[in-house]
Each structure stands twice: as structure tokens, then as C-alpha cells.
Symmetry: C2
Subunit: 293 residues, 2 copies
């Protein structure tokens, strides 16, 4: 028997529609729609695609956006000056710095220099600290997307045993914290597993919900999943595929074809967490205005 | 057979001695010793004792300290002004605000107004966020004490299954994060358990190391501990005891007498994590100077 497939596109469409209504309300109230500034440094091809998609998403829901493209030879000081300008520009409500950055730039220091109240990627230490304290302002889009997917798919989180595989600053650690938080969208018993974990299979077999966020295909195989468990796949990995026009296809961290014969519900890649992550950036951007509203 | 008893007083003495040498080195180098300002609001009897002990500890290792005692009718604005002065006073390297505060004051907002570089309790969201990112500046003293106890007792953390019971901002959450961090004093598989956890016993029975930080006596009983597991007790609870002159005695969150017959090693209360926590405040205070050194 196959799993129920959790439809990330449907959840994302629902969230985009809510954000669109939120923006319309703001405009009806005589305010400007939120404005997102995207800072892109260098000419990474994947980044160009992601940025284009993010700005299209904004347009679709009525959020205005603008792009600063910086040469990849730019110095830290020059980027810091630009961030200062953006921080002080009242017409810009939200800012993101598209990653990866050229290696001579200190990515964490740049995140640290953003105004926390415009940091819709939720990467400023203040925002991560508020998240840890259970008073989040902006939760990074990917962990937020995972929670949203579970909640909107009516999968109970409260009291469940959840294993998060991966301990990145962007996904694993914030996700573990928000799922363990005492509220109706949390209150789970959360295990943080990672490359240092011994006998991962013994641990995942005890889980009601398994979340894979490692960046490695086949991190979760069918023998690691208890019958009926929920499996959420955060991974997006390119693997060569000469049958595709672009020469590759995208797969997640989960062995989807085999795990879906065991799991109770599972997210596909693509079409799972990814589209919801895109939608959560819009939600965070809307919230920059709502917070002061 | 009884467990090995982990001696917190011995570890604390070792740390105090190291801090003392660190301060002496600073003074030999012609600098002032670090200065800790303690802010106490109101006249909570327990707080008065804790503050007195903290200042005694400072004196013992050569750290200078001073106390601001504020009336419990003080307003938020007045406290914020005082914190501003302390933040801007170059002669003060470190500041702590003794808790609990009178209920009309917003404790988290006050922590937020401290200069992060003087926040030796590690409670400013920036410091909690840096901890989450794995670049900690000041780690709160209690989680730091637990790690220090394990490391200095030669208990291997790497690759172990650790269950942290309790999800407070002060202990459980930061402790889970530092123990899961990829380094030689971490890299454990960490489960965050709490009041919402179902079948806690099944979870603790899988643990190599159990850390209790709930504030409830008998959170961990002997039937919950695998033979040979390490048990660390962060709790300090007062229970009535008419046989004692002061009318109470202190016990932890662990049923010590019974658990010690099962565990491989265990911390007593008092004399376990508590004294090391006091020593870690001194270490953090020393580090305010070392960081700029």
C-alpha cells in the first residue's frame, strides 16, 4: 500500500492566497504594500533563477520587490554600506541576501548587519535567539514551511516523537526548537540526529514523524521507517539524468519510491517542502508590516 | 552496586583556580581585572543570598564586582536608564540582572537591553542566537556547567544518546543545542523531552546520558535509567524537613538514593551542577576581557 502524498503545491497556493488577501487589506487601509529588497552578489546561475522566482512570487501576491545586483569583486565594507542604506530606507520593509556568497565575503557577518526587523530570512542572531526563547519574530522559511505543511495537512505534532535528521542553522536546529516549543503547533518530543549519530535506524524506527534535512540522497530508506510514520523530505539534490533536457533531475534526502510503500504520508521532491518555503518568505515579508500595524 | 558520584565541588574548584590564574595574568599584563556589575531589584531573600555568594566568588578569584540595589517599585524606564549607563560604562565589563524580578518588570525586555558583549548570563537574544549558530559568545552558566562537568569527568559525549528533560530558555534548549553541536565536546544525538512527552521512560531507557532540568523532584526514577547510564541532575528543589535547622533541605530532580543503585555515574544535589554553575559565571566574566585581548 502506498503512502498518502503530502501536496506542497496545494499548501503553498493556500498560503499565497492568504498573503495576497493580507496585502490587499493593507492597501485598502491606505498603506503601501510591503517591499522586499533582494541583494544578489555575483552571477551564480542557480541564484539568478531563485531570485527571479522569488520576485515573481512577490508580484503574484502584490508585494513589491527590487533587486540590487552587486559585482562579485565587491568588498565587505561596500556591502556593509549598502546594507546600512537598506536598513535606513523606510520604503524597504524586508531584505534578503541571496546565498551562496563569493567566498571572500563573511556571510554570517552580513546577516548580523541586517536590521533584525527587516530580516525576513530569520538569520540574524537576534531572530534566532528570539526563536530559541519561544518569542519568534521571523522564523527561517524552511523550518516554518515544514511546520506549516504538517499543521495544514492535519498531522498531529503534539506529543509525537519527531526525529530531525540534520543540524544546520537554516533548518535542523531552528526546526527542532519550534517543534519542541510548548504550543498547539509543537509540544513534540524532538530528537536531533546527524552525521555523528550512531545507529540512526534504531532512532528513526521509534519516530512518529521523520524529517530529513541533510543534503544527501537516501538518508532515509524504507527499512528506517516504521509502518505508518510520516516522512518529510527537506532535501533538494541534483543528480545527473541524461534523459532530461537539462541533464539532471531533483531528488530529496529520502528514498521516495521505497519509503512511500511503508510511510503513512510522505512529501515528494519536487512539490513538497520547496514550494511552501517559497510561500513562507512572502508570509514573513507581509508580517514586516503586520508587526507595526 | 552504587554509582560513581560526580563531584561538582571539585570541578568548580578547578575552574575557579583557572579563572584566578587568568585574572592574575591580566593584571600582570597591566590591565584592570574584569569588573562584574550585579543589578538586584527588590528584596527577595533567596536573591540576596545568591548575590552575596556571586560577589564572594568574584572576590576569591580576583574579579572586582559592584552591586546596584534597586527599589522594587522602580519603573521599566528607570531600569532601562540604569542599564544604559552600565552599557556605556567602560569600567564595567560584565553585567547580570538577578532574577526573579518584580512582576511589573519585563524580564526578557531588560535582558534584551543589556549590551550583548557584557551579558555574561548569555540571555540576550543575540547571544542565544550565536549559540544556536554554533558561534557562542556567552553560553548561559547552567548548560555550560553541565557540559564542563561531563568533559572534566572524562565522560564521552561524542556519539552518545543524550536525553535532556526540560525545555527552558535557561537550561534545556541551549543545553540541547551545545551538546548536538559538531565539536569534540558535543556531537551527541540529543532528544529534548518535556511535560508534553509521552512515555518518557521508554525514551530515557535508551539514553547513555540523562540530564534532568525540570524543577520537579523525582522526574527521574530508577526504573527509567539503563544500568550504567550517566545521570546529571540540574534541579534544585526545596522540600520541608523539620529535622534541619532551616526547616528545609535541597533535593534535585532525580531520585538520587534509588537511581544511584542503577546509574554508572550521577551528580548529587547539592554539590553537583550547582557549584560549577557559579564557577561558569566567573569564567564568562573573565572572557569579557579575553575576547578583547
Amino acid at each position: 500500500m502506498n503512502s498518502y502524498i503530502l501536496d506542497g503545491n496545494a499548501v503553498a497556493a493556500e498560503i499565497r492566497s492568504e498573503v495576497k488577501h493580507g496585502v490587499e487589506q493593507i492597501v485598502r487601509d491606505g498603506l503601501c504594500p510591503p517591499h522586499l529588497r533582494v541583494i544578489m552578489i555575483g552571477s551564480n546561475t542557480a541564484s539568478q533563477t531563485y531570485v527571479r522566482l522569488k520576485m515573481q512570487d512577490c508580484e503574484e501576491v502584490g508585494i513589491s520587490s527590487s533587486l540590487s545586483v552587486l559585482n562579485d569583486s565587491i568588498t565587505m565594507n561596500e556591502v556593509m554600506d549598502l546594507i546600512d542604506d537598506v536598513n535606513n530606507n523606510d520604503e524597504i520593509n524586508a531584505v534578503i541576501i541571496q546565498k551562496p556568497l563569493p567566498s571572500h565575503l563573511d556571510s554570517e557577518l552580513l546577516d548580523f548587519s541586517l536590521s533584525p526587523s527587516k530580516d525576513v530570512d530569520g538569520l540574524h542572531p537576534v531572530n534566532l535567539g528570539l526563536l530559541l526563547q519561544g518569542n519568534p519574530r521571523f522564523i527561517p522559511a524552511t523550518p516554518l514551511a515544514v511546520r506549516e505543511l504538517l499543521v495544514r495537512s492535519n498531522i498531529d505534532i503534539v506529543g509525537k516523537n519527531i526525529v530531525v535528521i540534520g543540524r544546520s542553522n537554516l533548518v535542523g536546529k531552528p526546526l527542532a526548537l519550534i517543534l519542541a516549543q510548548k504550543n498547539i503547533y509543537g509540544n513534540a518530543t524532538v530528537t536531533i540526529a546527524h552525521t555523528g549519530t550512531k545507529n540512526l535506524r534504531a532512532i528513526t524506527l521509534e519516530a512518529d514523524i521523520i524529517i530529513a534535512a541533510t543534503g544527501y540522497p537516501n538518508t532515509v530508506t524504507a527499512d528506517m521507517v516504521r509502518s505508518g510514520a510520516i516522512v518529510v523530505d527537506v532535501g533538494i539534490n541534483r543528480i545527473n539524468d541524461s534523459s532530461r533536457k537539462r541533464g539532471y533531475r531533483l531528488i530529496g534526502d529520502v528514498d521516495f519510491e521505497n519509503v512511500k510503500t511503508v510511510a503513512g504520508a510522505i512529501t515528494p521532491v519536487p512539490g513538497g517542502v520547496g514550494p511552501i518555503t517559497r510561500a513562507m518568505l512572502l508570509k514573513n515579508t507581509l508580517d514586516t508590516i503586520k508587526a507595526n500595524y
